[in-house]
Symmetry: C2
Subunit: 218 residues, 2 copies
DNA sequence: AAAAGTCTATTGCAATTGCAACAGTTTGGA
DNA sequence: TCCAAACTGTTGCAATTGCAATAGACTTTT
């Protein structure tokens, strides 16, 4: 895992990164599969970058249940939101699903002005800001989808976003149909039923995960 | 409107702010009620701070309709997400609802390291980061609410969040009941009906906007 | 090669929901 | 003060949806 390929260190050379990590007092932790790496919700926070292995971010419900929030592959970053927010009453778990190496950087070090060495410090800050902003945009899009009243509207709204992103009326879903149902928070069988009706009505063409919208009659 | 009272400049003295604004090449624009201040979605972006007046952020739908995203009071900030995101294919409007004064700062200046003067520059960056992160947390909470399948679950989920925030089983809704229905994306009358049922079932007590949850039997 | 797990697909049925319509109350301006 | 606009409250009805159950296809692991 080259850190220079991660979203956090994008645009910074490997040598610069090495110098910055020293300056930031970054530290690497190792853990085994099944370990709970962190619980968030209190104390001075740190941002984590997964160097190798696999992590999942889960949310602790009041009733003790857990909800999967995110799955992280090497290069992924976590804690960037909670670390910088002043709200953050959530309690979250970071769980390892494989032996993992994680690099931690205290958020205070990222923000603090540093006197020497780190010429690329401002680039790092820009990257963090971009990461958090991107997440906000993704969440806003999902809210837009979820705010539709019917499954049909939700699907059309989501497909519209996908088509805009692909720049074409035809695109492939990034997830399984089951995943799509979860994304739009609808029952999978009800969604399949509605998809069928929409196909009949000529609102979409589907071929597995390949979706094609009809030409706009604008 | 004192800039030192805004979330963006929190913790920075008025004199420091004056110096920073010069350093950032900040500029003030004035506009009349009804003016479209900005359309986002392209070009080098700027962050705007409303000094006086009233603004609303609206989203342009494909069909030409508009959705209200946010209403801004003096001290409010806009553009902080789109300015820093790399996704951002949205098109948004900023519309004035009263004669307004708006301070614009190019995002590039906020991020750029500045050689002299701005000792509090890093505090400003921290504030931006906190603003964006807070917004992310709020959006995540709303998604959590919207991901519930039934109106009853949505309400209980939302009330749970409110109670946690208030630190008490009793709290006052920040919006009207109509606003609440909009927040949970449900039909108002259906929500009223369900609220009635929940009252009967002893799941909540309501008195106008005052909500009280029963003691937890955990 | 078998097994376990996930994904796709379909259907009946009961429950929830959106919609439309109406009426009384409160709020904020003109 | 009076009017308009927004908010609260309620109901019938049709449509959508979630849930449960079932089954075949596909993947990955053992």
């Amino acid at each position: 895992m080259q850190l220079s390929n991660t979203a956090l260190f994008q645009g910074i050379t490997q040598e610069e990164i090495a110098r910055m990590l020293a300056c930031f007092h970054a530290r690497t932790e190792r853990c085994a599969a099944g370990d709970t790496v962190r619980t968030y919700g209190h104390g001075p926070e740190a941002v984590g970058i997964l160097k190798s292995g696999a992590l999942s971010i889960e949310r602790m419900e009041l009733d003790g249940g857990r909800t999967l929030l995110e799955s992280l592959a090497p290069g992924g970053i976590f804690g960037e939101v909670l670390a910088f927010s002043s709200l953050a009453h959530e309690s979250m778990l970071v769980v390892a699903h494989a032996p993992s190496e994680i690099l931690f950087i205290d958020y205070a070090h990222i923000l603090k002005r540093c006197e020497k060495a780190c010429a690329h410090h401002s680039l790092l800050v820009r990257n963090v800001l971009r990461l958090v902003s991107d997440k906000t945009v993704r969440l806003s899009e999902r809210i837009e989808v979820l705010s539709c009243r019917t499954i049909r509207e939700k699907l059309l709204c989501y497909f519209g976003l996908c088509a805009a992103q692909a720049g074409a009326r035809s695109f492939t879903l990034p997830t399984s149909l089951s995943g799509l149902a979860e994304y739009i928070c609808a029952d999978r069988s009800a969604m399949m039923r509605e998809l069928g009706r929409m196909r009949e009505a000529g609102l979409v063409q589907t071929e597995g995960r390949r979706i094609t919208l009809p030409e706009k009659p604008f």
